[in-house]
Symmetry: D2
Subunit: 141 residues, 4 copies
């Protein structure tokens, strides 16, 4: 298994690829620890729905990404891949501007199933959404 | 309350605003009926994660949007607004290309709470994700 | 793999064991088809919460059981076991009496993950809850 | 609004009614604080499924009950009632015996919607399930 530094570098590198969904939304990894991640998303006009608040899908995207990044810190990325089985998010407060941050955390990692959660905060530190996600871990073919 | 045609036109018009999250993702409304919607999202490179499959957040966004559009057909949009309370999505198969379509449907609309679901299909008609969402309906202030 | 009849008989027999949670709640299997089940639960005073309506946990139990029974029809019960990974239920209307019925259905069965859903109805045929559940399928050790 | 002591007493009293679902399952309130609850359920044979593990529905019941009890500590029970809108539970480890405990917590309480979560532990203190639930708060009619 790669060492911790290599895993973290790989996670950030993959998620900094300008061609991917991360770049489309403007998400980026701000910090990683074993089983934990911190992602940020600076809110722009493009994230808003017609009502002027950040679209639920953008928050769901950030939550999903933060839990996946947290899980990646615990995986052997050379040999294992993950797929999201399901995700659930509760929206607690509308967001209109500022910067969103997501704190992803793995709450259980078994051999083939992992579960994590994410707390999303607005610029003032208010909890604006909370999500749970289940992943399947698979050997890379 | 507006008549049906006006409501449908308004739903499509709002969701065609090029400044919004709909445009960022490339989602559009293809059809509306009372309590139902059909949205499409042509898959592009920008929707993919580093593994080459459509990011779960993009599917969650399409699902959320399709349920909201279905609910909008049953609302008095002049006087009522909706906010997403929570959403849950199961991912059933990876998607790499082609066009995603989402069929949103309201399964219950009470005075203040509505629940809907969405089935997402790939170009071949395979079910690739299924979502449920809860909305709160509020008088516009 | 056992034939269909044997599988169905085994499913009903296991779930008719008077020592189990099925009996505690008074649930029973009324019908099975490939990938589908119908369970019933006659509402009694013991299922009610202090407010006089059926406790959410009783509805969740019936939903979970109906999806598991539907999945069992597709499994090789000699060689495979299932565990519930997660469940999500939306409560659509309160229930006070009569008989609950649950129609469980598998919407996807892969090698290791299966997803199903259940619609719960009251005696008048009204949809009172809708649930989704994810299962992991494992070889019996 | 009742004072804190009266609210707590009322919550315990209601949930100790021997005719209710609480008693059927053998759940009881062990502790209450503002926005928090601790419930226990001593595992008996009646809670097990045919596979010898506690049925997912029993865990879902305990989780739902613990979040409702936590929410009740923040409500004016003379004037307000709650109904569960939806619940989601992830099962993290099977339970065969011992005593389950559930720590319920409110993570947001608005005027009409409240969201809470619950962590379920086995006798050894291992996290065996985690749940989230959404409630609607309504004036008593």
């Amino acid at each position: 298994m790669e060492d911790r530094e290599s895993r973290y570098e790989r996670i950030v590198r993959l998620r900094s690829d300008p061609s991917t969904y991360y770049a489309l939304l403007g998400m980026r990894v701000e910090g990683l620890e074993e089983g934990k991640s911190r992602l940020v998303l600076p809110v722009e006009k493009k994230h808003l729905n017609a009502g002027g608040v950040v679209h639920g899908g953008a928050l769901a995207s950030l939550a999903d990404a933060s839990i996946a990044a947290a899980l990646a810190t615990l995986m052997d990325l050379e040999r294992e891949g993950m797929i999201t089985v399901e995700m659930k998010i509760n929206y607690l407060a509308p967001v209109r501007d500022g910067q969103l941050s997501a704190e992803g955390k793995v709450i259980q990692k078994g051999r083939s199933i992992a579960v994590g959660e994410s707390c999303l905060y607005d610029s003032s530190g208010k909890l604006v959404a909370k999500a749970t996600a289940t992943f399947m871990i698979q050997p890379r073919s």
